[in-house]
Subunit: 337 residues, 4 copies
């Protein structure tokens, strides 16, 4: 950590800072420049993280040097991690396509959609049994019944299933039925929920919050990892910006940035990132071209009647076209799909 | 709800839309213009909210007419609501100042801070026993012990206490000790938590999420209200923007906008909205000038040693200066403090 | 245009609105619903655009129906436009790569860079003679001398050249030397400059402002087109968001959105959109996968000594690798490069 | 400037960095920590600003220490600057109110509005003769005729006048008629225009760009100052965020932040910052409470018929109410109005 002192600071301010650095077991290193005095704190700066160091007298600026996350960083582990959902490896050469309806609406429709996406090449089935809805008056999901349908369709199709966990009280329930647990964007900083899934022996898909920085996403992954579960898949699903033509803005830059900072696999969700079905294929292709390890996409056989997110769901015919194009772009970047 | 059809839509598209509108019990109203055909759906459009109407063939744009929230709206209740924390009314003529440390750190320090803020005019004590921290390695709060300290200090000072609830499993615990329950910005869309506190018989301070729109804040308030608890105080605490000089950007516009849209009282948190103690007083004054019913401010007798948010905490001396200025501005806008 | 009246509006308010609509030559169309009265203004609503219609008494909301741009819209022209820079068509099957240094620094270095990028497949040369710099103390460009170097290198290599115009007084000068004129992000709403280049007989590359919406970008293109010049190439170069890991956030969604709204060709600038050379290739590939017609990329043979934007410039070796990958992805999406 | 080297950098990388720092005349200062090596460059780091230092091999992070602006900074001049528009001092104890129509529409209406605002306490008249409009089809201003009307009304009322300059070619014209020149938000980074007005002997009102950081605003002020004109008034007029209830978000934090960083006076524009007349008074009061030296507000005697921005214009009656409240809040913060 580096401390820049204000011009005109007193010697007492400087000594006070030196004392504080020394107290926590770090070594101060003073450098007096023409316009500013700078003090480095040498050692494990994480000891300083909780201290309100900017409040010390005479301080102009404090610059952290180390990254505040550890286990999930590339420094910690050089090679790419591969996380398995059931037997499906996310993060290897093959781009995996996780597809299904936004919400589980019934056993028949789920079976129908699962059959379609499997036939077209999806390797994991998604579907929400608990739905985070902006309005209390909207459909909130089928709950355990929905989980049972997912499990039943897994038996029939062999597709492992991913579903969202929103409520800490449902952890055991979701753990019982799902092959991977999704933490939604709105819960990315629900820290108790993160700790809870950090204790599971199951892969976690952690979606980036709609206004979370890349650093905050990694800190939330660190929460999960710090409890022992490092089977984490990060998901870029669009961030909130001033643009109103689309529901969110897919932060495509985040894909290569994350590849540099962490060893964890990364998937892209073009359905939420755009909010409009006709934009799903081009942005899915962009995600793969940028280096994503998979895509998470909403598919529905009758979007017009979907109880949630129908506007952004692909029909099987469009999904088929997308898959064909996904395969070509995957090959173009040296992968398969 | 109004539907704008694409130029070149078919008669079949139009008929299909009319059928869908009729099916849910609304009345379609077609108007053919020179460049666009427009269809209004007359009746309670909330019936259409869950339907993916944009996905219907031939639709260019869908415009909702009604507000999706009800109980918390000004349409529902014309006069301002007054919500009491203990015996302290929030929303009346008097501007209330809720002050205290970011986190409860110990009984002695809490007692000391509470004594100071009470003497200087604060009427409610704040302090976190459960802390939402970005890093899993940061201090996470004292838990129930912290709640006990809050209760003890309430007994001693007579100040009602506000504390944050993050984990649905701690609801009873927090309910047992606190006079008002705070839902933090990161949990503004933790819908299960909202439903839970909607069942309490206790006022809720609902903080705006850092990238939540005003509409979403009101929808989250509606979640609480829809469970029966309408004792809700909204809190503007800064939103996330591109600006990096401050931790967040206080959305001062939100104060009069909310006053127009809802009958609920509104408080402003200048500590989180700026992240720097020297900006707290000017923005607190701005909040009051703009019409806020109270302010929520972090105070610490030794910010340098605070375990959390010391950089944005006022020392008692600065808090005293702020209070003096708060009183003057309150009077200038026809209120007291 | 649709007007939603407030609940409780008077009959006089309604009549007043009807009068105003009629006055400008449109036809009012009243529809009384259960909760709201709605009035449509039928006809060319552009007549209402300049009127402060929201200020009329009793109005709750005003919803425009038509797009405010005309000449640049898909409605106006269905098929894709192809814009030629010199003899290089932008918008056809071939993805064009516009490459070169950020700033023209000297004839030798420009010649060297131009030689490299041409050999590797770039078809247009870029380079700034007038540089928009945040600091008045930074290098501001070589001015006319730089333009002469660009023209000289064009003679030698046959590559047409693109350069930025910032100052209306330099229009003739830039027009004299350049094959295409770039309007930079900071000038996207410099309306006088837009009108000026609208009178040129030369293609314009219009870069999206860093906080401009897609609609505003199209309105700025309309400014140019309204003066008679429809040879416009739109450029997505990243928008400003809260994320700080990258200089800007490439709005990849904008590519397919723009393809739907306008017939103009679209290029992507991965250098400015990321600000870091190691992110240029993945985001360039993403742009092509999403449907862009070309990319605009900064290349320097000695980025360490570049006077501007060296951090985001590719060395020829990296540019060669990018070109190889660009070709593969272009083919995967049915194009060439 | 501080350089943090990557873990695993080579000794050659370090030596190369040291050489580069030495070359530009600064002194390198190496500090080897447990996890990172850090190099400080001691001396005037502005020498490094134009160099792409992040591109040097082995560099993880570069941290500037000094502020890149000079003349406009508090370090350069400790006491508040007072800038006079005509004989009206901006930045002193008195809060000045600059009021008038968005656009000059005609001599009679201008005279009428000027009479009203003067009678109610405004001390400077505003009005645009050249209007930056999003659409080429909107009213673009009366041009020189409008300037003449402003000058005529100044003669009659004694109010000095402020008007916007958009086009470098109109500099002499605007200089001839106006008492202060406004640079609009869209031109905040039109650097040639800034240099031009930097040569005038007339105060400049520099409006913050809608996505400009506080740092960029100060750099643009520095552009003007670097040409010799330090009579600059900064204007906070709202920034672009994700919120859609208001046209912009007034960044109230910016007022005290700017007061700390610069000696220049600061005014707030509540009309553009909100876009809705009913929000103008509360946000104007907030601006004053936060420490602004004045407000810039749109007033129109018949907003319904205003050719521009009628939705955000106050009628004289509302303006009178605002002025009364402005005076009270000004007094509450130890000023007059």
């Amino acid at each position: 950590m580096i401390f820049v002192l204000k011009p005109g600071h007193t010697e007492q301010d400087l000594q006070h800072l030196i004392d504080r650095i020394t107290e926590v077991g770090l070594t101060p290193h003073v450098s007096r420049g023409e316009e500013r005095t700078i003090v480095g704190a040498i050692g494990d700066e994480r000891k300083l993280i909780d201290l309100p160091v900017e409040t010390l007298p005479g301080i102009e600026k404090v610059v952290p040097i180390l990254k505040p996350y550890k286990v999930v960083s590339r420094d910690f582990k050089k090679e790419d991690s591969i996380v398995k959902i059931g037997s499906v490896p996310i993060g290897g050469r093959k781009i995996q396509v996780i597809a299904g309806p936004c919400a589980v609406e019934g056993i028949d429709i789920l079976r129908e959609i699962a059959g379609e996406v499997k036939a077209l090449g999806a390797t994991v089935l998604r579907g929400g049994a608990f739905k985070p809805r902006t309005s209390p008056y909207s459909f909130q999901g089928l709950g355990e019944e929905g989980l049972k349908y997912l499990a039943a369709v897994r038996e029939e199709t062999g597709l492992p299933v991913v579903t969202e966990l929103m409520n800490i009280r449902h952890t055991d329930l979701v753990d019982k039925y799902a092959d991977a647990v999704q933490i939604g964007a709105r819960n990315m900083q629900n820290f108790d929920l993160l700790k809870e899934v950090g204790k599971l022996k199951k892969p976690i898909i952690l979606k980036r919050g709609m206004s979370a920085t890349i650093l905050e996403l990694l800190m939330s992954a660190e929460y999960i990892a710090s409890e022992g579960n490092t089977d984490i898949i990060l998901c870029e699903r669009g961030i909130r910006t001033f643009e109103t033509e689309t529901r969110n803005t897919l932060d495509i830059n985040a894909v290569p940035v994350l590849k540099g900072l962490t060893h964890l696999p990364i998937v892209v969700d073009p359905s939420h990132a755009t909010g409009r079905w006709e934009l799903v294929t081009p942005t899915a292709l962009a995600g793969i071209a940028a280096g994503a390890d998979g895509i998470l996409v909403e598919v529905h056989t009758d979007p017009e009647k979907a109880v949630s997110d129908g506007n952004q769901s692909l029909k099987p015919k469009k999904f088929a076209e997308m898959m064909e194009r996904v395969r070509k772009v995957a090959e173009a970047v040296g992968r398969t799909a």
